[in-house]
């Protein structure tokens, strides 16, 4: 990260900071921050920020479980965080170093406590829903103007998928996102840990798999915006980013996001500090910087995800705070559900089924 500093005093501070070579290494999801914030953090604190990205919880988790990742701040999703805390991957936050903690939103803290009791190890960065992104023009062309674009039936009913296959469908390569949605579609408990109930989702997925062009968790942002595909089952903010990229490109592609009316998965990406972080002190500074109301608002305004920071809401642009796809209204919130991790045995069954769904074997 290069630094552009205007004043000489700041430059001197930087030289001093570099002499100490203080670094903070952050590992976050791809397309998940306003990069100006990174420069701002560097100029405010004089700490060198090294910012890497990933596109799946599995990659992050493997690094955490291998140990010695070298990162100071990482951003797992709640259910993954819970398991990594159990494995001893994170250190408890030092609340005395987080002066902005009061900005956090109680309603979100209550929900994240499900994964991290007492919110001792993590703070919420962003949260969102998993739902359906459509290229409205192409879907209407294929399925007609009354296509069920706000229903799970769009992606789990083979009759719809057969037609959509001609314009392209992508689905998250994350069984922990797709299987709960299938369960919801079947009218089951989406957080079911009953092996037989979960096995029942295989039938639905096998019926639609021939029509899914790819299971992938990051390429759909571009593919949807370019018009390469017409439907993506993905994360709310990603699809909204895709909508904006298409609008900027003025390529005639119009994207819409809907949380399924049957109910949508609500997930929480939590910032936490690995137990072996080289610079836990700097990590706390980064967390506190992110918890600042204006910084957090800048991040949300950029990536179109809701955050767990109540104080940031007054700085959010109307496009974000006023969009029910990002900050859902009461009725939608009541319809959201959460997910808890599988035990290792069930995880193996689920992954095996997922491989079968993806490869047909």
């Amino acid at each position: 990260m290069t630094l552009k500093l205007a004043t000489t005093t700041a430059a001197l501070a930087l030289v001093a900071a570099q002499a100490m070579a203080e670094e903070v290494r952050v590992y976050n999801w791809s397309d998940y921050i306003d990069e100006e914030l990174l420069t701002k953090f560097e100029s405010e604190t004089g700490i060198d920020l090294i910012y890497d990205v990933f596109d799946s919880n599995e990659v992050l988790e493997t690094k955490m479980l291998a140990g010695g990742s070298g990162y100071d701040v990482v951003v797992p999703t709640g259910s993954f965080l819970q398991r990594q805390i159990a494995a001893g991957a994170f250190q408890k936050l030092d609340q005395s170093k987080l002066s902005n903690a009061g900005n956090m939103w109680d309603a979100i803290k209550e929900r994240t406590a499900q994964y991290d009791p007492g919110n001792e190890y993590s703070i919420n960065y962003m949260w969102g829903t998993t739902g359906i992104g459509v290229n409205t023009g192409k879907v209407a062309e294929v399925l007609g103007a009354d296509a069920p674009i706000d229903s799970l039936a769009l992606i789990f009913d083979p009759a719809n998928m057969e037609k959509l296959a001609s314009c392209g469908v992508y689905m998250l390569d994350a069984p922990t996102e797709v299987i709960p949605a299938v369960l919801k579609y079947q009218g089951q408990d989406p957080d079911s840990k009953d092996a037989d109930v979960i096995a029942g989702t295989e039938e639905v997925l096998m019926a639609i798999r021939p029509y899914v062009q790819k299971f992938d968790s990051s390429e759909y942002i571009n593919a949807l915006a370019n018009g390469d595909i017409c439907v993506a089952f993905g994360w709310s903010g990603d699809i909204l980013q895709s909508r904006d990229r298409a609008a900027e490109a003025e390529n005639g592609v119009e994207i819409a996001y809907n949380a399924p009316k049957e109910g949508a998965l609500m997930w929480f990406d939590q910032m936490a500090i690995p137990v072996d972080a080289p610079n836990p002190d700097g990590a706390h500074k980064f967390l506190n910087f992110i918890m600042d109301a204006q910084n957090m608002a800048a991040a949300s305004n950029y990536v179109y995800y809701a955050n767990g920071n109540k104080a940031s809401q007054e700085f959010l642009v109307e496009d974000v705070i006023g969009d029910t796809a990002i900050y859902p209204d009461e009725a939608t919130v009541a319809n959201l559900y959460t997910f808890s991790p599988y035990d290792p045995k069930l995880q193996r069954t689920v992954t095996r089924m997922w491989t079968k769904v993806k490869s047909g074997n």
């Binding site: 988790e61 398991r83 299971f215 137990v275 995880q347 193996r348 491989t355 490869s359």
Partner: protein
């Protein structure tokens, strides 16, 4: 003493870069899954001394290898990888041979330039080159746009995210490894043999089959191994260009490691893959040795 050092160097290389990592993977493949850092047990506790070592060994078992035989996913993935590697190697040979032949027949002042052109792609990152293929092959990509423009097709061809795209990716990526050994075999060939054949009434085609082709065999075999061995365990190309139903062992390994967090089973898959590869590697070594002896 000097001689000893000369012999020791390659062995140290093998020991440090092959045997030690292999033993670590083998050890993990004999361990059990556990929720900890690292996510398997038992851990070797050196401070416990001899008894700790004995206890450590007593906890290792072949359970994970038995597991591999119980699910048909694994052997299907091995077979499918073998098939993809064999087909891709054959296609690479088909494309690579004429290129190498053309290079070897070209005027000698052109050859360094042609050689440069073959090597040039290595100057940019492998990942970027595979990503560019995504831009070429996708539904809205260059190839489909071009074909639609010429009127050859009326609907975009679905090449991206299929096994065809994987073949294209492998052939493209490994082509230089096929061209270079064949070229070096052809370049060394004595032209007077061809002249003699023609003097004796051999047609050019027949002379090619009777002289050039057999003499370039060693180069072809070397090229085929250089393409086949890395393509069988290929992960990047199938995951970027392939579709969901492209089953390759590299992807299965990834899933065991990342999705199941099951390092022991992932390591067992890797050990079996290595066992499968040992056969072609030994054959390759033999071929090299024979060639060296022939050149004497």
């Amino acid at each position: 003493m000097r001689r000893f050092t000369l012999i020791a160097l390659p062995y140290l290389w093998l020991l440090g870069l092959f045997l030690v990592p292999f033993l670590i993977v083998l050890k993990i493949s004999l361990s059990d899954l556990n929720l900890s850092i690292p996510p398997y047990m038992p851990q070797l506790d050196i401070s416990a001394g001899w008894s700790g070592l004995m206890e450590f060994f007593s906890e290792l078992d072949f359970e994970n290898f038995v597991w591999l035989t119980e699910d048909d996913l694994y052997w299907k993935a091995y077979l499918s990888s073998l098939k993809i590697a064999v087909v891709a190697t054959f296609l690479t040979l088909l494309v690579g041979y004429p290129v190498a032949y053309g290079m070897a027949r070209a005027p000698s002042e052109w050859r360094p330039t042609l050689m440069m052109l073959v090597i040039l792609p290595f100057w940019s990152s492998f990942l970027i080159r595979v990503y560019s293929w995504m831009g070429i092959l996708s539904n809205e990509g260059f190839l489909n746009q071009f074909l639609l423009w010429t009127g050859i097709i009326s609907e975009p061809l679905q090449i991206m995210n299929t096994t065809t795209a994987v073949y294209i990716g492998i052939v493209y990526t490994y082509l230089p490894f096929m061209i270079l050994p064949i070229y070096s075999a052809l370049e060394k060939m004595d032209d007077s043999l061809l002249e003699a054949a023609e003097d004796l009434g051999c047609s050019r085609l027949k002379a090619f089959w009777l002289i050039t082709f057999p003499l370039s065999r060693a180069g072809m075999i070397a090229g085929c191994f250089l393409v086949f061995i890395p393509s069988i365990g290929e992960f990047v190309i199938p995951s970027l260009l392939g579709g969901s139903d492209t089953l390759m062992i590299g992807k299965v390994l990834w899933e065991e490691f990342f999705n199941n967090r099951d390092w022991p089973v992932a390591s067992a898959v890797a050990v079996v893959l290595l066992m499968i590869l040992v056969i072609p590697i030994i054959l390759f070594q033999r071929n090299e040795q024979k060639q060296r002896e022939a050149e004497g």
